[in-house]
Assembly symmetry: C2
Homo-oligomer: 437 residues x 2
């Protein structure tokens, strides 16, 4: 539907500063922004106008790393580090997703929570179960979200119910990627869990599949020191963690997301820069699992692209402003320790919108040719616009999101559960936004 949205827009066309566009008419043709005008051009005066006077409109949030089955375990078991937490908490939870009816119930909660929290695009790990992960893809479409969704591959280093044979893992990945559940908004992504959970044969098969079918890739890189030691043990011929993925064609040959990147060697950084790999900073998760803190500034200086991820369930919130603030806080600690220039609010906001959005195409900015993803934010009306944004990001909550658009489509119109009464999806006693389930 072609339409016009009127309101006051704030975004980060570049990472170094916010741009404020007060009282503008944004003309949207289908999914895409045709232009942003101070006065409505005659040529478009026939289009319907939705006016959000007094509200602030920002790009939708992009969550570049989260584990769908772990939604139910958010906030639990945070006394572990990565490998123990996977063994004791995560794998038993993920095993439950071999049941499709269970996945249907739990994933529909997750998808509603994502929308309620203002996430409009996400890159998501499912479980090894192709059927359940396709249910997730369908629910995302029904909710009107944009996503890359991956069936997880792991043929070693996991307990039996979550262990696949190499062959099954590859076969299931092919049929998963070919499913008609996918469309222009919800797409498949190859998802080797992480190098220690995959044999060389599986990595080779997935790398071949990525190249042959032009499929993007997501995985984990250098999150935890014990994990890195495990990679050294399992892949003794490689000089760095990233080299493993790179060798098998899974590190930038097709568009690639790598989560964490907390403990990088120089060789990893070189390969990420050369391959145009997008790193996903998950600061809440890295703090919760005592993994460490990504050194963002030196990576940005090398030209590496960085987005943000909630990484639930190791992260404990889906609300991207909390991830933005945590990214700023950890960058301040890297300033304290290493003298790295801290991240500005604009830089962290950029990572959660246009920076991460780039993985989905022209997403995360209010520019001509960009897809119209937007959140209409209410509250703090008495403050100047930049203070309103600061207050929302530091102190606000999803209950302030009055409307959501993804690729030009109003979520209230797309989804019946939103249409009834959008504000009803997060009554105070349901608190979806904080991840109760």
């Amino acid at each position: 539907m072609d339409q016009i949205i009127k309101g006051s827009f704030v975004h980060t066309p570049t990472s170094d500063a916010f741009e404020f566009l007060p009282d503008r008419y944004t003309v949207i043709l289908g999914r895409t922004i045709q232009g942003v005008y101070t006065e409505l051009p005659e040529a478009w005066s026939h289009l319907p106008v939705t006016a959000y006077d007094g509200a602030m409109i920002i790009p939708g949030f992009v969550d570049l790393h989260l584990h769908a089955p772990q939604f139910e375990q958010m906030g639990l078991g945070m006394d572990h580090e990565l490998l123990g937490w996977l063994r004791e908490h995560t794998f038993p939870v993920e095993a439950k997703y071999q049941s499709a009816p269970y996945a249907e119930v739990m994933y529909s909660r997750l998808v509603k929570a994502l929308a309620a929290n203002g996430t409009t695009r996400a890159a998501i790990f499912g479980s090894i179960h192709a059927e359940s992960t396709l249910i997730l893809a369908r629910l995302l479409r029904e909710q009107g979200l944009g996503a890359f969704v991956g069936k997880v591959n792991m043929d070693r280093s996991a307990a039996p119910p979550l262990l696949e044979t190499t062959e099954d893992s590859l076969t299931d990945s092919v049929s998963f990627a070919e499913s008609d559940r996918f469309d222009a908004m919800v797409k498949p992504i190859l998802t080797p869990r992480f190098a220690p959970a995959c044999t060389p044969a599986l990595l080779q098969g997935l790398g071949d599949m990525a190249s042959a079918r032009g499929l993007p890739v997501q995985s984990h890189l250098s999150e935890n020191e014990d994990e890195i030691s495990l990679v050294k043990t399992l892949f003794p011929d490689f000089h760095s963690y990233a080299e493993v993925y790179e060798h098998f064609g899974l590190f930038g040959r097709t568009p690639t997301l790598m989560a964490h990147a907390v403990h990088l060697q120089e060789r990893d950084v070189e390969l990420a820069a050369r391959g145009g790999v997008m790193l996903v900073h998950c600061p809440l998760s890295n703090l919760n699992l005592a993994s460490g803190m990504m050194r963002v500034r030196p990576l940005l200086k090398r030209g590496i692209r960085i987005g943000l991820g909630s990484d639930i369930g190791a992260g404990h919130s889906l609300f991207m402003p909390q991830i933005i603030i945590s990214a700023i806080q950890t960058a301040k600690m890297q300033h304290q320790m290493h003298g790295d220039q801290p991240l500005s609010l604009a830089e962290a906001f950029y990572m959660a919108t246009k920076g991460g959005g780039e993985f989905f195409g022209p997403v995360g900015s209010f520019e001509r040719g960009w897809e119209f993803d937007a959140l209409v934010i209410s509250g703090y009306d008495e403050l100047p616009i930049m203070s309103r944004l600061e207050k929302f990001l530091y102190c606000g909550g999803p209950e302030q999101i009055a409307a959501r658009y993804v690729a030009g489509e109003s979520m209230a119109k797309k989804s019946q559960s939103f249409m009834d009464n959008e504000s009803n999806i997060f009554p105070p006693h349901v608190g979806l936004h904080r991840g109760r389930n």
Copy 2:
């Protein structure tokens, strides 16, 4: 009123573990717990029983450091470090509190927000203005909260509207402490802002006043490296920051709270241990102002008592579970960097309840002789009790607090605004708990 509260209680009588007391009758005589019973003793069967079946009851939260006038600036100006932030953001805001009507409006919002967030006791900095700070004291009483409230002293290093003469500062502090606004629940505390804002004559006068009147003391210690340099410049004869306070009788001669303690010298630690000074860990604030991260474990090993503080407005949340989680996260980073044993959830919860509560007397635990401060928490009913607590602390919000008690008194009964309909104080579109104002 003597009464019985029935429900399932969770608390930390010691810092090393949670104790779970399912389906107990807690007998409360006036302010104080007479006993906690699995079956109601005949002797108390005549008392009225309030049953919270299915809910979880935890001690009220203790916020040991916050700045009342800064409530309105939460989440703003976080691109500064301490001294620039004080000059550019905080002092202009605090100057507004010379107006008593302004203080009445803003402090009544703060006091409601504290209650909504589940804080039952707090140690609070006002501004230099005695009249406005006494308004705060009255509002706290009316709301039914327990508090130490301090008129701030500063006779140097501030801009003129916030600068006092030494004599006025001392005279106002005497009349402030003698005000009939105080009672057993809301008490005065001497509050030199921090050493750099006080001349030796002022510190001497306050130290004499503390000893003569048995008044407790609160201030700031070693928050930021530039601040510490300033102390060295202004007090060249002293070997450490704490020595300045100690010399003037403001470091443990009477009960003393010192906020931050991020960059301590060995001499500071010795003096804190010897003086029984309670340190207040404010991790969110320390991250936001890039101050650093307190090394909690070595201080605990020296027997130093540590409570938690929101430190709004440098902190951006009044909700103490967020401070608990931030304390755990920063301790995990100290584990990463220095090998310090991380804080368990029980240890951080203890700091926010019984640990900090000790400054108010027997507060923060469900033991015989303890004052009954409690929060009734709803939600996550399907989980085992310890998981419910974890979920609430990591993912929950103030909207889950179904009832509040301070010193045996139900806040719903105490305050008319709560009595009408307690849940109405935090409708989703007001969001008081996240600090909108």
